[in-house]
Symmetry: C2
Subunit: 183 residues, 2 copies
């Protein structure tokens, strides 16, 4: 069975909103949608090349400044059709969870293990930082009233990510208090 290649659909989804260059897509993965999808530029550029070969997008070089070229890609009708197909078809099966924190807890079966306390502290810090970041993103994007309606989908998934971090933190703090090894 052929592979999923969700990256292809994600890039096409972005290009269905507006033409973008590889670098713009990279930037989107580092900011805007970085909490939901990510790829390195070394995966993006070749994928753009393949999609142009396949006729889903067309690239046109633009000159920025005096020499620097920026290759913007525009989605074609067949590309648009492909995104729509993807959006309509059911979700692919969940990728297996790989949770290093959970595995460490699992192996520290002794409950009195002092490492367990440190592990929880680290995980809590991690989620606190992520939550802070996501909440600052919300402020930047949707602080003005009404801006949520303009970007309904974006607001929805950011809300979900924030909620996820909050819930996760709540559990971590609660479980942390119950640790017997806690000083």
């Amino acid at each position: 069975m052929a592979q999923k290649n969700t990256l292809r659909y994600v890039i096409l989804g972005l290009l269905s909103k507006e033409p973008m260059a590889g670098y713009d897509i990279k930037k989107a993965f580092e900011g805007e949608i970085g909490d939901f999808w990510y790829s390195n530029h070394s995966q993006i550029y070749p994928e753009l090349g393949r999609m142009e070969q396949d006729g889903f997008i067309i690239g046109h070089e633009e000159i920025v400044g005096s020499k620097l070229t920026k290759k913007k890609y525009t989605i074609t009708p067949s590309g648009k059709a492909l995104v729509d197909e993807w959006l309509a078809e059911s979700l692919s099966s969940l990728p297996p969870t790989r949770d290093e924190f959970a595995m460490k807890v699992y192996f520290m079966d002794s409950a009195e293990d002092p490492l367990l306390v440190a592990l929880f502290q680290e995980e809590i810090l991690r989620h606190e930082e992520k939550l802070d970041y996501l909440q600052s993103r919300w402020k930047v994007l949707f602080s003005e009233a009404g801006s949520e309606q303009d970007h309904f989908g974006h607001a929805l998934i950011l809300e979900r990510a924030i909620r996820r971090e909050k819930d996760q933190l709540a559990w971590l703090r609660e479980a942390y208090k119950r640790l017997p090894g806690k000083k």
Copy 2:
């Protein structure tokens, strides 16, 4: 920089509890700890081979029945040292999130898109099924009183997984009700 290879530590963690064969590890990934880590047998067997080469484990063939051989691996002191090192060192940086559901929502920016309702219904069903499964696991493992103390770490992470699904479902249902496209 060298790669992470967390699979190695996970396998060593399992072998630090008791000797196991590749097949037993595969079964653990399909049941017991499948909600926290997974690898295909085609990744497990070669990794076991490499770890034996590196002196972290030692394999010994056992004969099951009359002909069938089962190669059980025992952890060596250097293997034990490696797991302990991993348990003590801080968590590796979070792998990037790749959330197909979120991306689809993001691209369905229109809020009235009828596909959005179907998407949420599918995602809700998915999480309901997972929650059911996890709760049945809890019953099987920890229904008898006191059994939680024997497997502290296991109980803790299973609790976390259940909590995660519950919270996620709560948000999904809440957001679903707010969808304008909902009939």
